[in-house]
Amino acid sequence: MKITNWLLLISFGALLVYASFGLPNRGDVSANMHREKSLAGSPGASSYYIRNAYRDAETPNMVTVILADYRGYDTLGEETVILTAGLICYLILRKKRTKLDGKKT
């Protein structure tokens, strides 16, 4: 690999590490995403999920409720992405009629 690529890689990694210092700590109640109201003044989603997930769906695992119920469209899209990946693999890698080793097609 050329020296330029290494320099690019290292500088980009250093940028990412530098950006990670700006993230809030885990469980920081004053972080923007954990506030009751967002910066624009609308009610925040995360506290609503935490309060109402069990009442809405009778499922103790909050992550499942968010994944499959509150964010159902998103999961449908993810599944479609997986199906598309499989179909593209089939289209690219299917057996062509050119012989690879001459004895078996």
Partner: protein, 146 residues
């Protein structure tokens, strides 16, 4: 080139281990309501069990377990289960993917949502397991296997 060499020890151990992985994968899918897990993780583990047999027994023998031609259709069926759950809710008067409106009698609203989540997770698991096996089979396509 890939060359398959028959090895009875590897085949035996894989055949013993694979059903346990499948059971655990089903547990991960169906216990996703109560513990970490769900369709994506469980489907991946089920695919791992199928791929273990494929690696150990060779492609041709593994066709007895899961045929190559089943891959993409089962994945489509999984996506259709997800979509159909949402569409069923839409047909009976609600919004798309609003499980509150699923037409099953005798359930309260929160139980209906729980049931809808379960149906969706089964669809996701089926799609993921079929697509992963299909990708493996497609990658094997160009090589002279067995």
């Amino acid at each position: 080139m890939l060359k398959y060499k028959f090895n009875p020890i590897i085949l035996l151990v894989s055949r013993v281990v694979s059903p346990f992985i499948m059971i655990f994968a089903l547990y991960v899918i169906f216990h996703g309501h109560y513990s970490p897990g769900g369709g994506f993780q469980g489907g991946t583990m089920f695919a791992a069990a199928l791929l273990l047999i494929r690696l150990a027994a060779g492609f041709d023998i593994a066709q007895l377990q899961f045929k190559k031609i089943l891959g993409t259709p089962l994945g489509s069926v999984g996506v259709l289960i997800y979509f159909g759950t949402g569409f069923l809710a839409m047909l009976s008067g609600g919004e798309f993917l609003n499980y509150h409106f699923l037409p099953f009698a005798g359930f309260k609203a929160d139980e209906l949502r729980s049931l809808g989540i379960l149906m969706v997770e089964i669809g996701v698991g089926l799609a993921v397991l079929a697509i992963l096996v299909a990708i493996y089979d497609d990658l094997l396509e160009g090589y002279p296997h067995d």
